[in-house]
Each structure stands twice: as C-alpha cells, then as structure tokens.
C-alpha cells in the first residue's frame, strides 16, 4: 500500500499535467485565430526567433555537416563506398539533423527566454495588469509567440539545411579530395522533394512545441524567482523531449511503409 500510493499519485499528477497542457493548447490556438491580432508583436517575435537564432543554428549546422562528411568517409571507405557521401550528407541533414538540431538549439535559446519573460510577468502581476487593461493575455502574449514559432522554425531549418550541406561540401572538397562539380551534382540528383518537405514540416511542429512549452511554463509559474527558474528549466526540458518524440511520430507518418 505505501508503495502504491506514491505511484498512483505520480500517475494521476502526470494525467493532470497532460490535461492542463491540452486545455492551454486548445485555448491558445482558439485565441490565436480570433481577432484582435497584434501584427507588431508577431513581427517582433519572428525577428527574435528567426533572425537572432540564425548564428547559433548556422554554427550548429555547418559543423554537423562537416563532421557528418568526415565520419561517413571513415566508415564508407572501408567498403569503397565514398561516392555515397554527398547522398548521406544531404539525406541526413534535410530529413533529421537539420530540423532536430535546430529545434533543440532554439528550444534552449527561445523556449528558455519565453518562459523567463512570461514567468517574470506572471510573478510581478504584469499578466494580471494586462487583463485589467481589457487585453486578453492569450491573444497579446501567447498567440504572437505561437505564430512566430510555427512560421520561423521552417525558415531557420531551410537555412540550416543549406549551411549543413555546405559544411559537408567543404570537408569533402578540401579535405577528402572530391570533385566539386560531381559532389554538387550527386547532391542535387539524389535529394527528393519529400526529404526537404518532411524536414520543414518537422520544423513547424518543433517551432510550435518550443513556443507552446515556453509560454505554458512561463504563464503557469508561481512563487517568485525560484518559480521562474523552475519554469525556464521545465520549458527547455519538456520542449526537448517533445521534439524527440514528435520527430519519431512525424518520421513514421512520412516514411513508414
């Protein structure tokens, strides 16, 4: 009995948390599609997520592409299959590494910032103040962040794809001695629309998850500085885990036979 009690409590607590997130998501989406809209705030969030995340996402992508080419060469040279390197690089980057790594990096940068900002607004009564000023906090704070996350992550991932492939190209040409023309021709010939499209769909899903978790944890934070710190940690951890889980689900939907 003493063993079952905490187990049951944890299970019920988990269900309760899922219910709270589901209701929050439903309310956020409903509010996002209803006027009034705040284009100025949406643009601000788009710049924050899209433009200011470019350096970190770009750095991640270029080194990932470079390492990928190097490691693939080490493995494939044992089977005299070096010519498959451009194919492996482009498929890996567009389908998986581009969206997942960009998603995780943005979760750390943007998810944490959203949770900290909204959490501070919550504990300093700024969110209550919004309500007293006839402004719906869901429309004013949450909707712009969700829209910006959903739209800007695919843009970021598209850029990351190009940079990542370029990273693989650099290593292949200058270190492994590939012919530039052949490398590019192989890359273009091998990649399919679905490879890129599935990656961009994943990016949209990840962007939504990052904004949702940042907003949810920030909005629900309680108890001063400690509460805000906890909200920030939870936002990054839950967004990262959900990115990995949803990555598998979207991959199944696109590529399962």
């Amino acid at each position: 009995m003493p063993l079952l009690q905490p187990l049951g409590r944890t299970f019920l607590g988990g269900l309760e948390a899922i219910g709270r997130v589901a209701l929050f998501t439903l309310r956020a989406v409903l509010m996002a599609v209803q006027p009034p809209y705040y284009p100025r705030l949406i643009l601000k969030q788009m710049i924050e997520i899209g433009y200011y995340s470019l350096p970190v996402v770009g750095m991640t992508a270029i080194f990932t592409g470079m390492v990928l080419a190097l490691q693939t060469y080490t493995g494939f040279s044992r089977f005299n299959a070096e010519t498959a390197i451009p194919n492996v690089v482009v498929i890996s980057i567009t389908r998986e590494l581009g969206p997942v790594l960009a998603g995780l990096m943005v979760a750390g940068r943007i998810g944490a910032a959203m949770a900290a900002e909204l959490g501070t607004m919550r504990v300093t009564e700024q969110i209550d103040a919004l309500t007293t000023l006839s402004t719906n906090p869901f429309k004013y704070l949450i909707a712009p962040r969700l829209i910006a996350g959903l739209t800007m992550l695919p843009v970021l991932v598209a850029v990351a794809d190009v940079i990542g492939i370029f990273g693989g190209y650099l290593v292949s040409i200058y270190k492994l001695g590939f012919n530039p023309g052949t490398y590019l021709a192989n890359t273009v010939e091998f990649v399919e629309f679905l490879d890129i499209f599935s990656g961009l769909v994943k990016a949209g899903v990840f962007g939504f998850i990052i904004s949702l978790m940042g907003c949810y944890h920030g909005f629900s934070s309680r108890g001063g500085a400690q509460g805000v710190g906890k909200a920030t940690t939870n936002a990054v951890v839950t967004a990262s885990i959900l990115i990995l889980i949803s990555n598998y689900i979207v991959t199944e939907l696109f590529f399962s036979r």
């Binding site: 009034p36 300093t124 009564e125 700024q126 309500t131 007293t132 000023l133 402004t135």
Partner: protein, 258 residues
C-alpha cells in the same frame, strides 16, 4: 439600495486547498465613494479585490457591478465590464518592455484600439496629472524610482477614465513623504474623475487621506464598516487593536519565542 451601489458582494467564499480565505463575505461600495478595506497580512484583502476584478474565481457568492451579476459571465461580457475598471497594483506591475508613455497608453491602444499618436497625447497629459514631465514618458520603468513607478501606475489606472478604480496597497514600500504624495494624488484623481474607488491597505495614514468609508476584513469576513471618520471610535475591539497597532488584543499573531 442596489441602484446606489456600484459594487455589491454577497456571500463570497474562496479557499486555497484547506485554507479558507474568504468566508461568506458581504461588501457594499456606494457609487462615487471611496471605500478602503483594512486588514492584516494574509487576511484576504488581495484575494477579495482579485475576485471582484475577475482575476480569481470564487467558489460561491455573488458580485454585482452596477446591479449586473458578473460571476458566470461570458469572456466577452466580462471584457465589457473590465472597461469600467482601472487598477493600481501593489508592485506597480508596469510592463518593463515598454516605455513609460506606452505603459500609460496601453489600455487605450491595445484595449480600445486608439491611434498611437492620440493615445500618446492622452498618456502625456495623464503623466502631467500625476506630476511627471513628458521626458519621463520616454524612459523605461526600470529607470524610475519606486515612487515614480507608483505614479506611472496611477496614471495608467486613470488613463481610460474608468468608473471604478482599485488600489492594492498603494503606499507599500514608499517613504512617508512619497506615501503622502501618492495618497493626495489618488484623492485628487478619484475626485476629478468622479469615480468609485475600492482600496485595500494596512496603512492607516493612507486610509485617513483617501477614504470616505472604511471596512475591516478579518478571518475572511467584513467585521466592521462605517464612515472613515468613525474608525477611531468604532467600538469594535478588532478595529481598535488594528488602528492603534497593539500586539495585545483579540487579533492573535502566531509568534514563536526564540
């Protein structure tokens, strides 16, 4: 009687877990008057004001604004009622991402769709009304002192010329001179607008300046109410202990000996 009342609260109950904060509370705020509710820390003052504004949902009871029941209203109806309200928060609750003038004009721009230029003019006029120059309008809240932040918050509360203004501990954390400045500004702004005011405080000096009527909350209920001038001769032992600031009396503070 209900026609003369701006706010009418009946049988309000609110608890957090097992802790009962408001226990069958009744309160009347007559139209055009300034009512100050006093009470110790944790007595339920803030919860009362948050329930009336709609930031918290009570478990039971009735809240009428202008004779209209507000509990159970739809979100759109609630937003309409909210337009009658202005609120000065204890900590100011200024938006730190916006400059001062935009804070003051926020309700006009985001809540009522006013044009930014017109809203800015109104905001600068309201800042002038609380003794702040137009240059302050371009600063950010973090660049202001506590007293200035309270004044900006007051300007924001009155910017849309609300019918009812709520003041949550308006002088907490201020020095006595700045407290008096804020009290006098509150009195002037409420009188100029002809608004109804509901304040909560534990500052007796504040009560003496801004209140027409006073009430005391204890143990989740209003245990006394009357004209502000009567508070020193209320005949209620709880009120007398609070007003005189005595540690001995019917109100017991749980203090552990060292």
């Amino acid at each position: 009687m209900s026609g003369d009342l701006k706010i009418k609260v009946r049988g309000l109950c609110k608890s957090f877990g097992r802790k009962v904060v408001l226990n069958d509370l009744d309160l009347d705020v007559p139209k055009g008057q300034s009512l100050v509710v006093i009470g110790g820390s944790g007595s339920g003052k803030s919860v009362l004001i948050k329930c009336i504004i709609g930031l918290m949902k009570p478990e039971k009871g009735s809240i009428e604004i202008d004779g209209q029941e507000v509990l159970g209203m739809s979100a759109a109806e609630r937003e309409e009622v909210m337009r009658k309200f202005g609120m000065l928060f204890q900590g100011g609750a200024l938006f730190d991402s916006l400059p001062v003038w935009e804070n003051v004009a926020f309700g006009l721009i985001a809540g009522r769709g006013a044009k930014r230029r017109e809203a800015k003019e109104i905001a600068l006029r309201k800042l002038g009304a609380v003794g702040l120059s137009p240059e302050v309008g371009e600063l950010y809240p973090a660049e202001l002192s506590g007293g200035m932040q309270k004044r900006v918050s007051l300007a924001r509360a009155i910017a849309a010329e609300p019918e009812i203004i709520f003041f949550d501990e308006p002088t907490t954390g201020l020095d006595p001179i700045m407290s008096q400045v804020i009290n006098e500004l509150i009195k002037k702004c409420v009188d100029d607008l002809g608004a109804t005011a509901l304040s909560i405080t534990h500052d007796m000096h504040s009560l003496r300046v801004i209140a027409d009527r006073a009430a005391m909350i204890y143990d989740g209920r209003i245990i006394w109410n009357g004209d502000a001038g009567e508070i020193d001769h209320s005949g209620n032992p709880y009120v007398e202990q609070f007003v005189q600031g005595r540690s001995e009396g019917p109100i017991k503070m749980p203090v552990r000996h060292l």
